[in-house]
């Protein structure tokens, strides 16, 4: 990637800050708390992101609110004051993440020393974070590795058939529901799922991570750094399986895992997949009988890279026919193959092409976030429909927890696509 190519318009990208990503990894741990050593502004934007999945996040997410003198004299006064308030209020989190924003990270405050001085009666993980580290994924991975280094046992015996799911976040759209479906499928296949870091887990479960015989990586940008760390430290092998979209996609996904660690009850998943396939076929045919075959002239899939590529692959091979499929990956990583798209772009690499796409596309279904819809709303004279698959989701309300992945997710996604198709037909009348 040349420097010149990487500057593109932020309005055509989607991400948050490493501060948010690190907070998100810890927020997913049961009874954890997070203290941001940074300005109220950074604290508030991180909190607002986390509240999308956990509306009560404000009860365990705090800010030290240092002023500008802190970058000269240090932030100890502010951090200590907030930690003392936590002690006085009787807080006893399972683990506390104490992280500095980018400017506070630069001054080299000894956060661990501050925590030690107060002899806090709970484990504390300290981190220099913020935007200098990168976006959500970089913060997530940095926080995870810091916790692993500090709180995981030095050695462990691998348990047969025990696996971890690495690369999930409940702060991705429908992240908790997706994780539960992946976990359910693995358990149905006969595996024991030890832990799902980043999504509804406990500190005790995290401490059992090294007991896995295989680590399964789903979202590469989140999971691969963790898998590599655990491989290096404990020798645990890993497989980058991606995300299981669609019925056949789920079976293919499981076969990759089975090839590394044979599943004792693969037949159970196959049977459920067959039943779901039959069900979806009958529902599909009924919809076709009334509305005709589903067809979209243009579809844009834009999301974190693994999600975008895995979903695009299933979209055209299982769910719908498409004239032209374009994919925008929001991260640059080692990704699963996707041979169904006419064009695959990566932000920070193909910014000029992405810009041109937004200027010229029309009659398009967006499987994206509301950020892409926002760009097209502004263009006017552009016909599009939106089916959000990632945050932000300003133009669609999500209340139910429905997985987009796995066998259950294939029904949900097919349903949403059909409803988009029908809406477009109705709007043309």
């Amino acid at each position: 990637m040349s420097e010149k190519q990487g500057w593109g318009n932020i309005c055509e990208r989607v991400d948050t800050c490493a501060l948010t990503g690190a907070g998100a990894f810890f927020a997913a741990i049961d009874k954890s708390e997070v203290l941001i050593n940074g300005p109220l502004w950074c604290y508030f934007y991180a909190l607002r992101h986390l509240e999308k999945a956990r509306p009560d996040m404000y009860t365990r997410f705090y800010g030290s609110q240092p002023d500008n003198n802190a970058v000269i004299y240090g932030s100890e006064e502010y951090v200590t004051q907030e930690l003392q308030r936590m002690l006085e209020d009787g807080h006893k989190p399972s683990v506390l993440l104490l992280e500095s924003s980018c400017s506070l990270s630069l001054i080299g405050d000894d956060l661990a020393g501050m925590a030690r001085k107060l002899q806090l009666p709970f484990p504390v993980v300290t981190l220099d974070s913020g935007g200098m580290v990168g976006g959500f994924a970089e913060g997530y991975a940095k926080a995870a590795k810091k916790l692993f280094a500090q709180l995981l046992p030095q050695t462990a015996m691998a348990k047969p058939l025990a696996v971890n799911i690495l690369g999930q976040s409940e702060f991705y759209l429908q992240g908790a529901a997706d994780t539960q479906e992946i976990k359910r499928l693995l358990q149905l296949a006969g595996y024991e799922v030890l832990c799902t870091p980043g999504c509804e887990c406990t500190l005790e479960e995290l401490q059992r991570l090294p007991e896995a015989s295989l680590n399964i990586v789903t979202n590469a940008e989140l999971g691969l750094p963790l898998a590599e760390y655990l491989h290096k430290k404990y020798g645990t092998p890993y497989v980058f399986a991606g995300l299981p979209y669609g019925v056949q996609g789920t079976l293919r996904w499981l076969q990759q895992i089975d090839a590394q660690l044979p599943a004792p009850a693969m037949d159970k998943v196959t049977a459920e997949a067959q039943a779901q396939d039959n069900y979806l076929l009958s529902r599909n045919n009924e919809a076709i009988a009334l509305w005709g075959s589903m067809w979209f002239d243009n579809v844009l899939v834009s999301a974190p890279a693994t999600q975008a590529l895995c979903l695009a692959q299933t979209l055209r091979t299982e769910w719908t026919d498409i004239g032209r499929l374009t994919v925008i990956c929001q991260q640059l990583k080692d990704e699963p193959a996707c041979d169904t798209a006419e064009a695959i772009y990566t932000v920070g690499v193909d910014d000029a092409a992405i810009s041109e796409y937004f200027k010229t596309c029309d009659n398009v279904l967006l499987l994206t976030s509301s950020s892409e819809s926002s760009v097209l709303y502004r263009r006017k004279q552009c016909s599009f429909d939106a089916c959000n698959i990632c945050y932000p989701t300003n133009d669609e309300v999500f209340i139910t927890k429905q997985p987009m992945v796995g066998l259950q997710g294939s029904a949900y996604m097919l349903e949403r696509l059909w409803n988009c198709f029908i809406r477009r037909k109705k709007n043309k009348v």
């Binding site: 420097e3 010149k4 990487g6 500057w7 593109g8 318009n9 932020i10 309005c11 990208r13 989607v14 991400d15 948050t16 800050c17 490493a18 501060l19 300005p39 109220l40 502004w41 950074c42 934007y45 909190l47 404000y58 800010g63 609110q65 240092p66 002023d67 500008n68 970058v71 980018c102 400017s103 630069l106 001054i107 913020g130 935007g131 200098m132 580290v133 990168g134 976006g135 000029a352 509301s370 950020s371 926002s374 709303y377 502004r378 263009r379 006017k380 932000p392 300003n394 133009d395």
Partner: protein, 429 residues
């Protein structure tokens, strides 16, 4: 037992960041490009604000008439903290000029750039000389000793100095000063409607919503009307108006914030005085009074006598209770108590208490005394969301809507909440 508020914090020092202020000051000025000398995540935060603002406009059944300008980030990384980020900034500026061919570039500095001491001014000067494109810089760096409005006004000041030229006055023309959601926002639309009743035409909204090519016209306006507010934003806008008067003889109206009926009346009379059309102002007032009365007749059968509690936790600079107390009187609500929330530092509580007592003889309570009062109220009007599922709450916004349309909207929110058969809930007006 004390009442509790949701997501409650008291802002101790700096609450905001100056970079989004820079962005917002020129966000819709065709021909401008904004560069954040910052980690990429800072620009994502500004983009989040941008998306939220756009969808808020859509939620009001309005559509932006044109889109925002490109926003780039120099994408500072950890290594820049050691070697400095100016080389990176220079590349980014060159890219911005070559790609977008802007009429002007604006650079906003992050707190990181401030801490490492990058000489942004010199880089800007060099690039400007080389490419002959004006580049505006600011002294403020993120949250360091600066707030949102510091960035906003510093760039506004520079736009005035550099691009506004003396020119012939356009008869009966008005320039709106300030943001408040732009020309398609509630404030500008309501002000424009009333100004049209006086026979004058709005020729632009400065800064933020005039193309770079149009800036010369700023001095052509005969009059300027500040889209007022409270706090520093208002003080800054008033200074801009003073400058326009001093340099170009533009008469202005600044000191009235037309929230609530009394202020709206004062505002209309002052507009009449400024335009030399006092008699017309009386006619306009009569029409506005008629509009308000028609609506009041509809609301009163439901609102009269209803037990109401007012909860105030915002400092006087951002919230004057006079307006809502007047609305309460107009709707003939039965105000049973006023609760001052536990968010005040030092003298701020005393200052608010004094103003409350000057405007009302209703007893004032603390949060510790408030629970019973809230439990018995038909409706709670509050500056902070309460952690109470039973109470019907009206959230009093930081930027209330203005004039008769704004007053009617507030009244309608109270009316609808009282009509609601749902238990509890928060209404954002």
């Amino acid at each position: 037992m004390a009442i509790k508020t949701r997501r409650f914090y008291s802002a101790r020092k700096s609450c905001s960041c100056s970079m989004p202020g820079v962005w917002r000051a020129v966000a819709y000025m065709d021909g401008a490009v904004v560069v954040f000398h910052s980690p990429r995540a800072c620009a994502h935060v500004a983009r989040t604000m941008d998306i939220n603002s756009q969808y808020r406009t859509l939620s009001e059944n309005e559509r932006e008439q044109w889109g925002s300008v490109p926003l780039l980030s120099s994408q500072m990384q950890e290594k820049d903290a050691i070697f400095g980020g100016v080389a990176r900034l220079e590349k980014c500026l060159r890219f911005a000029i070559e790609t977008y061919k802007p009429k002007c570039l604006m650079i906003a500095n992050s707190c990181v750039a401030g801490v490492i001491g990058d000489d942004v001014e010199s880089v800007a000067r060099e690039v400007e000389e080389k490419y002959d494109v004006p580049i505006l810089t600011v002294e403020c760096c993120g949250f360091l000793g600066a707030e949102y409005y510091d960035g906003y006004f510093e760039i506004t000041q520079k736009l005035l100095e550099r691009f506004v030229k003396p020119c012939a006055k356009q008869k009966d023309s008005v320039l709106l000063l300030g943001d408040n959601g732009g020309p398609w926002g509630h404030y500008a639309k309501e002000v424009t409607r009333i100004l049209q009743e006086f026979g004058v035409e709005v020729i632009g909204q400065f800064p933020g919503y005039m193309a770079m090519d149009e800036l010369e016209k700023v001095a052509a306006a005969e009059y300027a009307v500040v889209l007022g507010g409270r706090g520093q934003t208002h003080i800054g806008l008033r200074k801009v108006a003073e400058q326009l008067q001093e340099k170009y003889g533009t008469h202005y109206l600044a000191d009235i914030y037309p929230v609530g009926w009394q202020e709206t009346q004062d505002w209309v009379i002052s507009i009449g005085r400024m335009l030399g059309r006092e008699a017309l102002a009386q006619q306009v007032l009569k029409l506005e009074q008629q509009r308000l009365n028609e609506q009041l007749q509809h609301f009163l059968p439901v609102t009269e006598g209803k037990k109401t509690v007012l909860c105030i936790g915002r400092i006087l600079r951002y919230f004057h209770p006079g307006n809502i107390l007047q609305t309460i009187r107009l709707l003939r609500l039965n105000l049973t108590g006023i609760i001052l929330l536990d968010s005040y530092d030092g003298d701020e509580r005393e200052a608010m208490l004094q103003v409350v007592q000057e405007n009302s003889d209703v007893p004032v309570h603390t949060t510790a005394e408030g629970e019973e009062l809230v439990a018995q109220a038909d409706i709670v009007l509050t500056t902070h969301e309460l952690q109470n599922k039973e109470a019907r709450q009206i959230f009093l916004p930081m930027l209330p809507q203005v004039a008769v349309a704004g007053e009617v909207k507030m009244m309608q929110g109270i009316y609808q909440s009282l009509c609601s058969r749902l238990k509890g809930g928060v209404r954002y007006v």
